[in-house]
């Protein structure tokens, strides 16, 4: 009796000890104090060397957290630069310069410099796909005219973390102005792998004096340098071909139906004043056709808009007037879309995915054109139609008359 009871106690104790071992946590756990969280990664070319310069932007938690008394003059992030032939190599090399292990799951941004993109980004895709710490939703930007390291070093006034600032900025630019777009690793890999489609990425530019724009950047009201997200980079395969800026960038987004909201200026009758029309949403439909054995695309863009601001006198109660304004806006949209198509065709870069649409609707024909699609794309006839529907005119109908 007694032994049985003892055995029970002992086996219960053993159970508890055993379960405890399993409850203590992961095998390869890493404490928060042991890691350095990387928020963005920049890649630059090193002239005359067969290696890249990788820059890692790391958060300093004490400077970012509101509780632990940030105080002081230290910047919220720090950067580590490391040379390497591949990203993996550089990450390990950077361990010589960092007190903690670099931790990538929070890296939301990749910035490649224009030089690297022109040479080709093919070297990087495998690591970005294969590694389990790098997330497929990480946004990619190409810098125009400056080094990626510079972009990552600029401190930003409104958002504490520069990478957040850049991401939010481009998101806003995409949503409110449509001069750029946010593209992530997933989109890019799908574009490369899908026949008949080329990748494109958002572009950023630094305006101002970068030398003065380090920690001092946020010490006064007007920063010495800012990052502007205002372009779209066109690729053919892995190599950067050219840029779409401002209106033509928006043209690409018109055709893809990705314009969410933007502002269009159309001239008044007197050609001196302008009417601002606010676009509320837009859709695009692309119809493929085969004409005379050659591919042809018909793009129809439908948008809804409202009058934002007018500097000339027009009678907005007159529906004919509204129709005329609609037509003018439509013409402008068509112009931007045509421009985007024209530039893309010049670079033989089918970022619109016209090839894929042909593939999906006419797989037989596609087989004929697949291998030389870039030439077919260049010569392709694309007809753009833009329909604008102005529904409202704000809080007033007729503008204030100048006496």
């Amino acid at each position: 009796m007694k032994i049985k009871w003892m055995m029970k106690i002992i086996s219960l104790l053993l159970c508890f000890i055993f379960i405890n071992i399993f409850l203590t946590g992961c095998w390869s756990q890493r404490e928060l104090g042991d890691i350095s969280m990387v928020t963005s990664i920049g890649v630059d070319k090193i002239p005359n060397e067969d290696a890249y310069l990788f820059t890692f932007q790391i958060i300093i938690p004490s400077q970012v957290s509101p509780v632990k008394g940030g105080g002081g003059e230290q910047a919220p992030v720090t950067i580590i630069s490391q040379k390497g032939k591949t990203l993996f190599e550089a990450i390990r090399g950077a361990s010589q310069k960092a007190p903690n292990q670099l931790f990538f799951p929070h890296a939301r941004l990749f910035v490649f410099s224009e030089d690297v993109a022109k040479d080709g980004l093919g070297d990087f895709w495998d690591m970005l796909e294969r590694d389990h710490e790098i997330r497929p939703l990480t946004t990619i930007f190409i810098t125009k005219g400056s080094k990626a390291k510079t972009i990552l070093t600029i401190m930003t006034p409104i958002e504490k973390m520069p990478s957040d600032s850049l991401l939010e900025e481009s998101k806003l630019a995409e949503k409110r102005l449509a001069f750029t777009t946010r593209v992530d690793i997933d989109d890019t890999i799908k574009a490369i792998a899908t026949p008949g489609k080329e990748p494109f990425m958002g572009g950023v530019e630094m305006i101002g004096n970068s030398q003065a724009a380090q920690a001092d950047n946020i010490k006064q009201a007007e920063p010495k340098a800012i990052i502007k997200a205002n372009a779209i980079a066109l690729f053919y395969g892995e190599k950067l071909q050219g840029w779409l800026k401002d209106g033509s960038a928006r043209g690409l987004l018109w055709v893809l139906g990705k314009v969410k909201s933007t502002v269009m200026n159309v001239p008044c009758k007197n050609k001196e004043d302008f009417i601002n029309v606010e676009i509320l949403n837009s859709k695009a439909q692309i119809h493929p056709q085969i004409k005379n054995g050659r591919p042809k695309m018909q793009v129809t863009i439908d948008t809804e808009a409202s009058i934002g601001e007018t500097s000339c006198f027009i009678d907005l109660t007159d529906s004919e007037e509204i129709v005329r304004i609609q037509e003018r806006v439509g013409k402008q949209i068509k112009k931007e879309a045509d421009e985007a198509i024209h530039i893309a065709q010049k670079y033989k870069s089918d970022v619109f995915g016209f090839g894929t649409i042909i593939y999906r609707s006419y797989p037989g024909e596609w087989k004929k054109w697949e291998s030389s699609w870039k030439d077919h794309f260049k010569e392709m006839e694309v007809e753009v139609k833009a329909n604008v529907y102005i529904r409202r005119s704000g809080l007033r109908n007729k503008p204030l008359q100048n006496k």
Binding site: F22, S28, L137, K190, T194
Partner: protein, 366 residues
């Protein structure tokens, strides 16, 4: 075996969880590329159903015996006993491979620095405990986990759709190579995996409290899992695109990684890991149990529970040596196994048994 009984709902859940197993998280059907979802439906509705009709008919003829026992009844001891050995080895191999699948997937996605042994031992230990308690415990567990899995699945589908990552254009052009293309790519692998592996489930049929309903339960379980698998693969391809789907080791995981709701709800990876754990638990568990009962039948052992621990250890150790690396594992699984192992053992042998049994019946009217 005693008087343990399981009801039809439990059997349904067991079969469905067994079929979904690992297939739901990997690129199942990648042989058919873009039309994988269609190939799965065809494989399940035709291959799976036919195979089940086979097993169900054999069960109806011998409702209280496992295949190991009725093989001996049908073709005699000298052929039947070695067939039984083949079956048991088949089950052990299935358990080993599936455990290894599970370990490989976990270590390549989340627990990269954890040794394989640790992950395997966690799974096997819990399985040993459950099976020691009996098949009815496993069956009740199946009911609960089925509900949990279903809820997880619904959550996953909702969050994927809300992330606007689904693009059904990725599925077109449908049947680019025509129906023959789809079928030639998927035969025989999609017709026998995982349907042929259900041979292990037949060891559980004798516990069913309502033998007459076996066809209803089994066929509905197969149709249900085929539809779920097809739907999941369809969503995977719509989100990832064919290229990434073909090349990914762990397709459902990749799909969930791309979920981002309002930039707040992200990293829903655990949904997939739990799905894998539940599915694989039943796959390995049922193979394991089949091996135990099969061995008990072969050697006329009084108490099957004594075999649970030894067979568990065998499976654990074997799972570490079954393949040298992941590439070998996949090559064996998709290249060699379906044609040379699954078809003969899970289709041809039972078919022959059925034919012989029917012939014998005809000559011996009772």
């Amino acid at each position: 075996m005693g008087n343990i009984k399981i009801n039809t709902l439990q059997l349904f859940c067991l079969i469905v969880l067994f079929d979904l197993g690992t297939a739901i998280v990997v690129s199942y059907g990648a042989e058919a590329h873009r039309d994988a979802w269609l190939a799965i439906l065809i494989g399940g509705f035709f291959g799976g159903a036919l195979i089940f009709l086979l097993y169900g008919s054999l069960y109806r003829m011998y409702p209280n015996f496992s295949p190991i026992l009725y093989a001996q009844q049908i073709v005699g001891k000298w052929i039947g006993w070695p067939l039984g050995v083949i079956f048991v080895i088949y089950f052990l191999h299935g358990a080993t491979r599936d455990l290894r699948d599970y370990g490989d997937l976990l270590t390549s996605s989340m627990f990269t620095q954890t040794p394989l042994f640790i992950i395997h031992i966690m799974m096997i230990l819990s399985m040993i405990y459950v099976l020691y308690l009996g098949i009815d415990v496993l069956a009740r567990l199946a009911e609960i986990l089925f509900a949990i899995l279903f809820i997880l699945g619904v959550m996953a589908v909702i969050s994927i759709s809300l992330s606007k990552k689904i693009d059904f254009d990725h599925l077109s052009p449908i049947m680019e190579q025509g129906l023959t293309g789809v079928l030639s790519n998927s035969f025989p692998s999609l017709f026998v995996v995982p349907w042929g592996e259900m041979l292990a489930c037949t060891l559980i049929f004798p516990y069913l409290n309502n033998p007459r309903s076996i066809m209803k339960v089994g066929l509905s379980a197969i149709f249900f899992s085929a539809i779920i698998l097809s739907f999941t693969i369809m969503i995977n391809i719509s989100v990832l695109g064919v290229d990434v789907f073909d090349r990914a080791n762990f397709a459902l995981y990749e799909t969930i990684r791309r979920v981002s709701l309002m930039e707040f709800i992200e990293r829903l990876d655990p949904i997939v890991l739990v799905t894998l754990i539940i599915g694989d638990f039943f796959k390995v568990g049922i193979f394991f149990y089949a091996a135990v009962i099969g061995t008990t039948d072969l050697f006329k052992i009084k108490n099957p529970k004594t075999l649970v621990l030894p067979i568990g250890i065998i499976i654990l150790l074997a799972s570490l040596t079954v393949s040298g690396n992941f590439a070998e594992h996949v090559k064996i699984g998709s290249g060699i196994l379906p044609s040379y192992v699954h078809v003969p053992i899970s289709v041809i042998i039972p078919l022959c048994l059925l034919i012989v049994a029917m012939i014998r019946r005809r000559f011996k009217p009772h």
